[in-house]
Symmetry: C2
Subunit: 400 residues, 2 copies
DNA sequence: GAGAATTAGTATTTGTTCTGAACTATATGG
DNA sequence: CCATATAGTTCAGAACAAATACTAATTCTC
């Protein structure tokens, strides 16, 4: 829910909490700054910044780097930066694999391990047991590398209830109503911030914002091509979750009111044209005795060979995506799109088709069409990054 | 822009500013409360509430009502309520009329005056001169009625830049790049809060939220049928302005990728099917020698007579709107729509067509389709209401 | 190379604001 | 008339940032 929650009364201590986070966020993007620079940038006095930084050093989130040479006159400042000795664990349960990684506060993915496994229809408890042991192994590797975990995050391909840690429904895993609170607790045991559950497309969209193509954009629609078509809306450098908490569901925007029935019960949805199954079927690639990965490889081979049927199928997918992108552009006033997931491998044909359709449907409206370069670690990076930001937003929780 | 602006440092005084607004908002919806009730509801101590209320009484925004009888034991509380002696002026410049009204803090429209005039293509300075004298007359009437103005707002049918008070473009008025800062200053001269410029559909959407059908909803898409099709997104009881500040532009969402070229340069936009001109043309109602109002009357007459061509035109408009509404439902996770403006007079045919199309395209997704009952004063009510809320959010500005 | 200039960071006092506890004020009920 | 209950006020105490005056460390200039 986006609505303003409980009307918490303002207390005197809130001021310090806010200023701690303010100073910390100054350190975030730039990397290094001195107390004096922070004072100038935030409007706080040097005295206040000194006091706040002392607390932040105590939390372990920040460390001093020693004197920074400016070549100018006067006493040199002491460099301050986010500590690479603190991090968060990000995990992803997907249809074809499990993945866990540890991201430190400087943005480096310090450990990263993937286990290939077909999880569709598998019992959740079995998958979660595998995830638990993988997370333990990665967590130990991170500890050996000197990274202490602040929290964690788990991204899943389905609709989630973050508050309760429940996976409401994940058609591609054939899971529904799976309580994951226990699995979340085991991701980063003993960490000061609790792990949260998130949707995979949302996490990937955030990974783009913090570590990928979105850094330069600030506001964009992220499109994730997996089995379905997922989406995440980033508005003003923040994930926009909408009225009910599940915004950005691009897969079921209607692009052809007279079109085919969709599995959602609707008609003419994006997924009926640009979903993986729809594209493969339209390209004439049958599923007989082949894995999803194998069929996608066949599709890229057909595209490379210039097969007209395959090219046409991907072009139609691009046109369908364009209709949905224009809807987003009009409704939430966006001008950029970032494409990730399997859309990346279709880039050569999909990109031009999408751009051409956008020019036809709404000339000049969309000014940026970018493809992700984060690859398969996007979702876990986003989940871990979100955990780090929860810590950066509440540093006071780490103080005695 | 939705992005976080300047990183203002937290000061001790911020706490009081926030708590003043917190207490004031407790008074808002309910109407009456005692200091003790406010303390219990907000979590502030009785001592703090007493001190805050003393300041609020000084601002004139709040007044004591005398002892409230509870019939229970103990000392009775003193009722507190927003003062009906403070209000804001709302104004609207539209194609066919000028309108100005004064809304008080209790939500009553105390004065309201409309001047019919065809403003299309008229010189802005002439229209604004008329507006100025109308606002002066209404302002004096309000003063005579004991209402002191806190601020004002002006709603216009076009794209606005609120920060600079500029009307960027208003095709239906044939205006572009009109600086309105001067006109805004003259709306409520001497008022402590400066008047702001807003888009008409956005203001109408807010009027629904605060005084209309939106009170029970909290999140919805408002659709305004004027010459064009405008929209306003309300998410979590707040107007959502999107990445660039102009969200909710429903009129140019693509509903028919193979459809007609639109005046915007795009193709198959909502307005090419559900815009006033498109509907009238499809209904076979020619424009020869008749005003817009006259042609709309002819359309309603045809509908009442069951004319197949007119009914079909409105039904197709409903189907086009449904595609856009589903896009909004998916992208920002909404489940309610409120229709206003000229859509109200088409209600009998448009409502069922829209609902049927919604059931076909996305069964169960939209649970509420409501029509506005605020009539022609919606936009000015929203503009005035926004001015009142600016005052309620910053009561400290009224203290010495 | 000594002192002036300049910038970084710290210590101390002051004013604002909330909290908590004790207190006064005003009602109901027996 | 007194016990009880609720409303509201007063006052000391703690937390906090601002303002001011200070110390620390470096470069520039003569």
């Amino acid at each position: 829910m986006t609505s303003q929650a409980t009307p918490a009364p303002g207390r005197v201590g809130d001021v310090r909490r806010r200023n701690l986070a303010l100073v910390l966020n100054r350190l975030g993007p730039e990397g290094v700054a001195s107390r004096a620079e922070i004072a100038a940038a935030t409007g706080l006095t040097k005295a206040s910044v000194s006091s706040l930084v002392a607390d932040l050093l105590e939390t372990g989130l920040v460390e001093e780097l020693g004197v920074t040479r400016g070549g100018e006159r006067g006493r040199p400042g002491v460099g301050l930066a986010l500590s690479p000795r603190r991090g968060a664990l990000g995990a992803e349960v997907n249809v074809d694999y499990l993945a866990v990684g540890v991201l430190d506060l400087r943005g480096a993915l310090r450990v990263h391990e993937t286990v290939e496994a077909s999880n569709h229809g598998r019992a959740p408890e079995d998958v979660l047991a595998d995830l638990r042991s993988l997370a333990a192994r990665v967590g130990e590797a991170a500890a050996a590398d000197g990274v202490e975990l602040l929290g964690g995050g788990l991204a899943v391909p389905g609709i989630v209830d973050t508050a309760s840690g429940t996976l409401v429904t994940a058609p591609n895993l054939a899971w529904a109503g799976v309580p994951l609170a226990g699995a979340l607790q085991d991701l980063a045991p003993g960490a000061p911030f609790s792990a949260e559950l998130s949707n995979e497309a949302d996490s990937a969209a955030l990974a783009e914002l913090w570590y990928g193509r979105g850094r330069a954009l600030g506001s964009y629609l992220y499109l994730s091509g997996e089995v379905g078509v997922g989406g995440g809306l980033v508005i003003g450098s923040q994930l926009f979750t909408g009225a009910g908490g599940h915004a950005g569901e691009v897969g079921h925007v209607v692009v052809d009111p007279g079109g085919r029935r969709c599995s959602c019960g609707g008609r003419g949805c994006v997924e009926t044209v640009a979903g993986q199954e729809a594209v493969l079927a339209a390209a004439g690639i049958t599923g007989a005795g082949s894995t999803t990965t194998g069929r996608l490889d066949a599709l890229t081979a057909s595209l490379a060979a210039g097969d007209a049927r395959a090219v046409g199928a991907v072009e139609r997918a691009g046109e369908a995506l364009a209709v949905a992108v224009v809807a987003a552009a009009r409704l939430v006033d966006l001008s950029a799109v970032v494409l990730g997931g399997h859309f990346g491998i279709l880039r050569g044909v999909l990109g031009p088709a999408l751009e051409a359709a956008l020019e036809d449907l709404a000339p000049g409206r969309i000014t940026t069409v970018a493809f992700s370069d984060l690859g398969a670690s996007a979702a876990l990076t986003g989940a871990a990054g979100a955990a780090l930001r929860r810590a950066l937003a509440a540093p006071h929780a780490l103080l005695g």
